[in-house]
Every structure is written in C-alpha cells, then in structure tokens.
C-alpha cells in the first residue's frame, strides 16, 4: 500500500516534469521562429528547405561563374535588388533564352545587353518549378549579403593580417635585442674607463702594475706576423687559381643565365600559382623539336580580360597593334653542332619538364638550371632506363634480347644507341 502510494507520487512528479519540459520546449521553438523572421529583416521569409536546396544547387552549378549573389558585378550584374529592377515574369524567359528576349525588342533587355559589351548570357532550359526555386533562392539569399561577402574576403584579410603581424613582431624583437646589446657595450666601456681612472689615481702602484693598467693594445701587430703573411699568400694563390680555372671551364656554359625579358613574365605566377600546364603555352613541347614560345594569341586567351591595364600586359597589346613580334631572349642555347628534340624526350621518353629545366614554377625570372654540357647529356643517357610503350612489339622483342644477354638489369638509353655520336652530331 505504502509502496503503491510512492509510485503514484512518482507518476505525478513525472507528469509534472514532462509538462514543464514540453511547455519550455514550445517556448524555445517560439523564440527560434521569431529569431528567423527577425533575421530575414522584414524581407522574404526563408523558402522551404526543399525549394531552397533545389535553388541553391541550380545557382551554384549554373550561375556563380558569371553572377555574384551580392551587388558586385562579375560577368553579368550582381543579384542584390534584382527583384526591384525586374519581376519574375520578365526574368524567367530571360534565363531560359536571353537572346529571344533581346530579339523581341524588349528595351530593358537591349539596354542590358549593350551595357555588358554584348556578352551573351547562356541559355538555361530549366523547368518552371526549377526557375521558381532558383528565383526564391536568389530572392532570399541576395538579401543576406553579409554571409557570402565575409566568407571569402574576411578569410583572406585575416590570413594576410596574421602574416604581417608576425613579421612585424619579429622585426621589433630584433630591434630590441640590438638596442640591448649596444647598451651592454656602452656600460662595459664606461666601467673600463672608470676602473682605469680609479687605478691611475692610486699612488701605491709600482711601475709594472702601471704598465699593465696603461698598456695600449695594438691589434695591427697581428698582421705583421709571418704566419699571417703566409696564410694570406696561400689563400691568394688558391683563389686566383680557382677563379682562373672556373673561368676557363665555364667557357661556353651558360648555367645560371637569367636574362631580363622584354616583358616581366612570371612563371611563378602562371605555372606555380595558377597551375597552368607548361604545354598550354609551349604547345610544341610534345610534338616537335622546339618547345615553342607562345604567340600573343595564347596570352590573349586570358589577358583579353585579366589585368588588361597593367603596363606589362599593355606591351602585348602594343605588339599586336603594331604587328611587331615580342623579342623574347632565348635562355637555353644548344650549339648548332648538337641536335636536340623536345618531343623525343617528353613524348617518347616521358621526361618531366622540371628534370632539365628545374622548378620553373617557382622562378620569377627563368634561369638556366642545367649546364647543358655534353657530359650532362651523356650522364643521363647512361643512367636512364628505357621506359618503352606497352604493347609495342619492336621494344618487347628488344627487351627480350636485352634480358637474354644482360639479365634483369634495366635497359638504359646507352644500350639502345643513346651514345652513338651521330645520334646528336650530324
């Protein structure tokens, strides 16, 4: 009976607590709901998740390459305030086929088309509900400007600032250290002078002590010793010999040659930072003898739009306008007596550009990394194993014979005639 009563009490308590929690939960949900409407700032309420996500996917896959969600222009206008400028009935046919709207003689469409240098907006064959979802997404998201902007720009500035702060901090520390060192030197010098003066004033010093106190240290006496003289003479002879030998060996070798080019083109920026493949500009490198220097039309693939105002880029424009070629300075000069073919090395042997040219993607100004001497060529031909194409019967049989005579040792370029004089000299 007693125990039963307790369970009733427990049940009562549970019901009470449950009621409390649920009412609190409802209250919390209420406040959440008000928060979202507040967040929309009197504008449109957030569309349902399904609509929002459909719109978001469509936006990200199709629109972001040309439009910003904020007011900023990209290729086309920014989306902020789009519904103040145009209504849905106008926007839908425009997205589906902008050229048809222009052709229909719509004044606003024609004005827009001319304002953006007659850039044709791609046609998107969306269904009507997709268009609605996309426009709902844009309507909602274009008013939430802060989110998109701070995401990209904010991140960058923070990273940049932190880098600046740390280097400033380092400089400050260095300055303080130097200052402290100078202070210590000054104090030491002061102490020496004071001690000297004090000792000189003392009467009871004998002659020997006085001499020690007042002695002048002559640092130049060292330079007159025989050992020093011998050392200097030896170093002098060695340096003269090394300079002379280096000069003689270096005749005809241009390693380290890094001339200033007519246009300050940076491989570090193009090949390094923007990861443009070497072969994009040097189109001949997999096809022919020369890797080729890109003609101006290849520069223009990007620089019709990128950094057009820069004085260096303007040099390309001048060259095109005046029909005058850009006189790039050739860096890697092989003598005419040696034949070299790029495609044989890149396409057939499969070498990477960096194996001979060094890390060009890190060079602001390109320098010749390899010595390009005959010894350098031959060394590589002796060491490199031939990587023959799969399924090439000629090389399959050659490898068979090779393994018959030389065992499992890799077949080098030398063994298939890579050191024959006439391969390169003819």
């Amino acid at each position: 009976m007693f125990a039963n009563r307790i369970t009733i009490y427990q049940k009562l308590l549970f019901v009470l607590l449950f009621g409390l929690f649920t009412s609190y939960g409802v209250h919390a949900q209420d406040s959440l709901a008000t928060a979202t409407t507040d967040n929309a700032d009197g504008g449109l309420a957030k569309p349902s998740d399904e609509v929002y996500n459909t719109g978001k996917t469509l936006w990200e896959q199709n629109c972001t390459s040309c439009h910003n969600i904020n007011a900023e222009k990209k290729v086309g206008p920014g989306m902020k305030g789009i519904f103040e400028r145009r209504d849905r009935a106008w926007l839908k046919p425009w997205i589906v086929n902008s050229q048809a709207v222009i052709a229909s003689g719509d004044a606003y469409a024609n004005k827009l088309y001319n304002e953006y240098n007659q850039t044709v907006m791609t046609s998107f064959a969306f269904k009507d509900e997709e268009l609605d979802a996309l426009l709902d997404f844009i309507a909602y998201e274009s008013e939430q400007e802060a989110v998109v902007v701070t995401d990209t720009d904010g991140g960058n500035t923070v990273a940049g600032d932190s880098g600046g702060i740390s280097s400033n901090y380092f400089n400050l520390l260095l300055g303080v250290l130097v200052f402290v060192l100078i202070l210590i030197l000054a104090v030491l010098f002061l102490m020496v002078t004071i001690l000297n003066r004090f000792l000189n004033q003392k009467e009871d010093l004998n002659e020997a002590d006085k001499e020690i106190v007042n002695q002048k240290f002559n640092p130049f006496s060292i330079f007159q010793s025989r050992a020093f003289l011998g050392g200097v003479a030896l170093i002098f002879v060695l340096v003269v010999a090394k300079t002379g030998l280096d000069g003689l060996i270096g005749v005809g070798i241009q390693q380290g040659y890094a001339p200033t080019q007519p246009i300050a083109f940076s491989h570090k920026l193009h090949a390094g930072m923007y990861e443009i493949d070497c072969g994009y500009c040097h189109t001949g490198v997999y096809k022919g003898k020369s890797a080729t220097i890109p003609s101006a039309n290849i520069c223009m693939n990007c620089h019709n739009q990128v950094k057009v105002g820069s004085p260096e880029i303007q040099k390309i424009y001048k060259a095109i306008e005046n029909d005058k070629p850009i006189e790039w300075i050739r860096i890697h000069n092989l003598p005419d007596l040696a034949y070299f073919n790029h495609s044989q090395h890149t396409n057939v042997a499969g070498l990477e550009c960096t194996q001979c040219h060094g890390e060009v993607e890190k060079m602001e100004v390109v320098a010749q990394r390899a010595p390009l001497t005959m010894g350098w060529c031959i060394n590589c031909h002796r060491q490199s194993a031939v990587d023959h194409a799969e399924g090439n019967e000629y090389y399959d049989r050659l490898l068979e014979y090779h393994e018959g005579t030389k065992g499992k040792a890799p077949m080098t370029v030398e063994q298939i005639g890579g050191l024959e004089c006439s391969k390169c000299h003819y």
Binding site: Q61, N62, S65, C66, K74, V75, T119, V120, T122, F124, A125, F223, Q224, F228, L229, V232, I235, F236, V239, V240, T243, G250, V251, G252, Q254, G256, Y257, A258, P259, T260, Y274, E275, I276, D277, G279, Y280, T283, Y286, K287, G288, S290, I293, N297, I298, N301, C302, N304, Q305, V306, K307, P325, N333, P335, D336, L337, S343, Q344, N347, V365, D387
Partner: protein, 237 residues
Amino acid sequence: MNSQAYKIFTLTAVLGLWFLTSCQKDPNDPGTEFAPQMYVSKPYEPYTQVEPNSLNPKGLNLRNPAENTIARRAFSPEFQITDSLGNTVKKVDIMYYDIPRDDAGRELASKVLRNPIPINEKSLAEGKVLYERFCASCHGAGGAGDGKVSQKYAGVANLTGAAYNKLSGGHIFHVITNGKGLMWPHGSQLNADERWKVVHYVHQIMGQIPAELGSKVKTEGAGSDSTKVSPKTTEAE
C-alpha cells in the same frame, strides 16, 4: 722583409682577394663562347636567331604561312588509326574547314560533325591528358569551372551543369576551335584530332559516356601511367 714591405704586400693581397671575389656573374650575360661560328646555325632555325634576317619581313626567320593556307596534316581529310606497328587500320574523315566560325557555324557543327575518333580506353586516356593540359586550368579537373585561373577569369562554364552537359560533340569541337562567348579560340594550340579526343573526355566528364568505360579509364588514370599516354598521332618527327 721590413715592416713597410709587409704592409704593402698585405694590402695588395687583401685588395686582390676582394677584387677577385666581389664580382658576381651578371644574370644578363650569357658568358664567353669559344667558337661562336660553331654555335650559331647557318641555316634558318625558327627559335634561334642572332642576326636579323635580310630577306624576310621584320628581319625574322619565322614567316607566316601564305594566306588561306590550310595546315597540311589537318588538310588531309583522313585521320589514320594505326596499330602498334604503324599499319593503317581505319581511315576516318576529319575535314571541318567548310564550317564557318560564327554562331551559325556552331549550330551547323553541332548537327553535322561527328567525332571521328573511336571511343575506347586509349582515346579517353589521351583525351584526359589533353584536357588536363589545355582545359583544366580554367574548367577544373572535374569540369566544374573551378580551375585556379577561374579565380581571375570570371565566367568559366561549369561543364557538368545542366546548360552544358547535353551538348553534342560537334558543338564542343566548334567551341574549342573557334571559341564562344568569353572563351577564346584554342584551335591554334590543339590539332583537330587532339580536339576530338578532348571532346570524348569532356563527354565523359559530362556523364554522356557509358559508366563502365568511363570508370575503367578513371582507375587507369589514377596511376602515374596516365601521363605517359600522349598522343602519338600528331606531327611527324
């Protein structure tokens, strides 16, 4: 030796050392050549020239081809597919010069041009190499328009997006050759047969190529071997 001689000798030696070691090589100086007449080519070479050419316009060894010239290789209306021993297996028509470069031409190309290169793992792998070399810096490795250059060059198309992923091979070929909208022509960088291989690979990115063939190439491409597969069908050496 007296102390005066010491001083003179030391001074000369130190000055001499300073003089010998202070000279840095001028990066603009190519250095000495022992026999320049053996280094510089007598016959005309395209990318090396010391003296201005007295016969050609602007003193250049390089000359533009005569107007209305069509590159010989591409002029050949046939694309030869050869086996490993170089025997011709099949000949395919690759002519496209009678199609105009404008929008109407693109419409036409989209309808009439067919990819002459057979779809197989080899042509897809070669297309992938070429795509990564010529397209990925803007359009991104996956075709989503997110290559590094697209940060600077606004308006790069997302090839996987709904507006593009149904495009025909002829359309893509025409766009690579002649450009469209913000994309400038890339016909000077890729031969016609290379462009068609890129078209295959772009179709694979767009999901137009049957999955089983696509997946095979993808796994193969993941290895380092893929870089070795380069188009052998280009210029004759």
